[in-house]
């Protein structure tokens, strides 16, 4: 298992390199220009100079190489400096966003709390709602609950967040005035009252996002439970005189969770980029919003770095999912 993990880890380096190269070439091919947001009143020569100041004049491969060096060599040094107070990175050029002229990593780190608070929590909430729904739907297959659950989750899944978001805002912010419509990213939670405010501002985006998660995960959970409910070992457990609770919630659930856990793990990377529209609707300026603004501003280093982080998460969580699978299911042992 350990060698398997290490092997996969080592193998993921070339994979990531290749992915980053592919993404870079894609972005090179993509039309668009970081000067698009500069007003038309600024004359073209000036724009050309600004472009050159960003390093856009250099050949693509040189740009890629620079980016690689910055991400893989300089940024880790910055991290080490930050932790140990050393000064390896002094005077070295980090990955700089074209939009903000500041290190991309700093902005990313700034965005992580929002993303985790809202999108991450939404994922957790979604999963927590989905699991009982899935379990009970399977246990009472074709019951009213099951049918209704399917109905509601599918509706939830088929309605886009750019509709549910404003709908919630109109109802809860405008009509009822319960929750703020704009997320305050500077809000600091330090006591009960501020925690309550945080809850209030989180509740709507979390709900919108959780709806999507719930729909998917509960489907998987239901299917996995159904697969296991008729297994022989369930009959054995019953024959031992175990109560239904133990039979379902311990014997069946533990087995059904194996595929579902991996599905959940594979969904984690999406937390960081998959909530673009919801983040936008509620002004939760997280990683997704960062990516989309960077995309529209053609901020190549930012887009590149974010997609790379994203790819990194995907590859890592793929690996984590596989390892989890092996850990949870004693039958599977990777050599």
């Amino acid at each position: 298992m350990l060698t398997y993990t290490i092997r996969r880890l080592v193998l993921s380096f070339p994979v990531l390199l290749f992915i980053s190269f592919a993404v870079f070439m894609l972005l090179q091919l993509a039309p668009g220009d970081p000067m698009a947001q500069v007003p038309l009143t600024v004359p073209p020569e000036v724009k050309q100079q600004m472009r050159e100041a960003l390093g856009l004049g250099e050949p693509p491969l040189v740009q890629y190489w620079k980016w690689l060096v910055q991400v893989f060599w300089i940024e880790p040094q910055v991290l080490i400096d930050h932790w140990f107070g050393t000064s390896f990175s002094e005077g070295k050029l980090r990955v700089i966003s074209w939009q903000t002229r500041s290190p991309v990593m700093d902005i990313v780190i700034q965005r992580i709390p929002q993303t985790l608070w809202v999108v991450g929590l939404a994922y957790v909430v979604g999963v927590l709602i989905a699991l009982p729904i899935g379990i009970y739907s399977a246990y009472r297959q074709y019951s009213v609950f099951d049918q209704a659950g399917t109905f509601v989750t599918m509706i939830g899944f088929s309605i886009p967040p750019f509709f549910t978001g404003p709908l919630l805002i109109v109802i809860f912010s405008v009509q009822l005035g319960w929750f703020p419509s704009i997320y305050d990213t500077t809000h600091v939670v330090n006591d009960w009252a501020s925690f309550k405010i945080q809850l209030q501002q989180m509740i709507m985006p979390v709900m919108v996002l959780a709806l999507q998660t719930t729909a998917q995960i509960s489907r998987y959970m239901r299917a996995a439970m159904l697969d296991n409910l008729n297994a022989d070992y369930v009959r054995t457990a019953r024959a031992k005189g175990m109560s239904e609770w133990v039979v379902v919630m311990i014997h069946v659930l533990r087995n059904s969770m194996i595929p579902v856990i991996t599905v959940i793990a594979l969904g984690v990377p999406a937390i960081f980029g998959g909530a673009i529209i919801t983040e936008n609707v509620f002004k939760v300026n997280g990683i997704g919003q960062l990516l989309i603004t960077a995309l529209f501003a053609n901020d190549l280093p930012m887009v590149m770095t974010l997609t790379f982080i994203f790819a990194f998460l995907i590859v890592m969580f793929n690996l984590i999912a596989d390892v989890l699978y092996g850990l949870l299911d004693p039958r599977i042992r990777y050599d």
Partner: protein
């Protein structure tokens, strides 16, 4: 060493295997009979047929041009609002009302449905095709597994927006020349949605194929000289149908919504080309005053997705001979 007891005629009957009693029937009859038992599937199927017919033949029945502006008749409410709100501006000529430029909503729903259904189905079929192909090949041919799965990772990381922009830059002109501006854009959007959404299907199919490959009937097929390609076709594909059906359901919904999200982000079809998703996105700012404008496309999308879901459930049961017998 007990020599057999003298035979009695009943013993033959006793020893004969109990076979199926019901007379054999044609396969499709059977499928249909089983399908008919699934109420949800019947409902879903009926609704899908209805909506498909409506968007296909609607334009002959409801001949208004969806792009026709009628600025004097803008912001009409659907006629049923007159039931409770007698002051609402309604017109018989526009049963679903009109939008802020006076375009007929019913006509828009019909044409929008055409586009959404076409995008949904086409992108879903494309992504299923790619996903299944990659999944099956990765699962069946061990050597290709690693590389194909890493490719899946790559595609998972590709951001869809730049991809679409690249595709538009590179292919809009040739496609426009061959398929017209809307046809060309349609192909682009479908392709981009298709190639950015096959990955989950591929993963699931691969997992199933890995398990199926170990089943004896695949070994049996090899031993009777079935070529790998035929094994995939005859033995593996029919047996991974059920996960594919689930992917298909989710895929249709995702495709319709992705198209609308693209419109929402401003990189979709030409602005005068209605789709359900775009109608929904455009109506969101006015949803307080004109709730029907979000409800109509919203309900259409949800019902379509729901009926495909139920239809998928029903088909899965009906096509699986093991379930069909019961």
């Amino acid at each position: 060493m007990t020599e057999p007891v003298p035979a009695s005629p009943k013993a033959i009957e006793a020893l004969r295997d109990a076979g199926p009693e019901a007379p054999p029937r044609s396969q499709w009859r059977d499928v249909w009979d089983q399908f008919r038992k699934h109420k949800g599937a019947m409902f879903g199927g009926a609704f899908l047929v209805f909506i498909t017919l409506a968007v296909l033949f609607g334009p002959w029945v409801w001949t208004l041009d969806p792009q026709q502006l009628d600025i004097r008749n803008k912001d009409l409410r659907p006629i049923w609002t007159a039931l409770w709100d007698s002051s609402a501006k309604t017109a018989i000529g526009h049963p679903f009302g009109t939008d802020n430029l006076g375009r007929d909503q019913l006509a828009q729903m019909i044409y929008g449905g055409r586009a959404s259904m076409a995008v949904g189905w086409a992108a879903m079929v494309l992504s299923l095709f790619i996903g299944t192909a990659i999944g099956v090949i990765a699962g069946y041919f061990r050597k290709l597994d690693g590389i194909l799965m890493r490719m899946t990772d790559l595609f998972l990381s590709l951001p869809i927006l730049p991809l679409l922009l690249v595709a538009v830059t590179l292919f809009r002109q040739p496609l426009r020349a061959n398929f017209g501006p809307e046809g060309g854009m349609f192909i682009l959007i479908v392709t981009v949605i298709g190639i950015t959404s096959w990955m989950p299907t591929a993963r699931i199919v691969r997992g199933d194929v890995l398990a199926l490959k170990e089943r004896e009937f695949v070994l049996a097929a090899r031993s009777i000289g079935t070529t790998p390609w035929k094994i995939i076709q005859r033995h593996l594909l029919p047996n991974v149908l059920s996960p594919i059906m689930v992917s298909a359901t989710l895929g249709l919904a995702t495709a319709i919504i992705t198209e609308s999200a693209l419109s929402f982000l401003g990189v979709g079809f030409p602005s005068d080309f209605p789709t359900w998703g775009k109608m929904l996105a455009d109506a969101v700012p006015r949803m307080v005053d004109f709730p029907e404008r979000v409800m109509l496309p919203g309900i259409a999308i949800s019902l379509t997705v729901l009926s495909v879901n139920y239809l998928g459930d029903g088909l899965r049961d009906a096509l699986d001979p093991r379930l069909r017998g019961r």
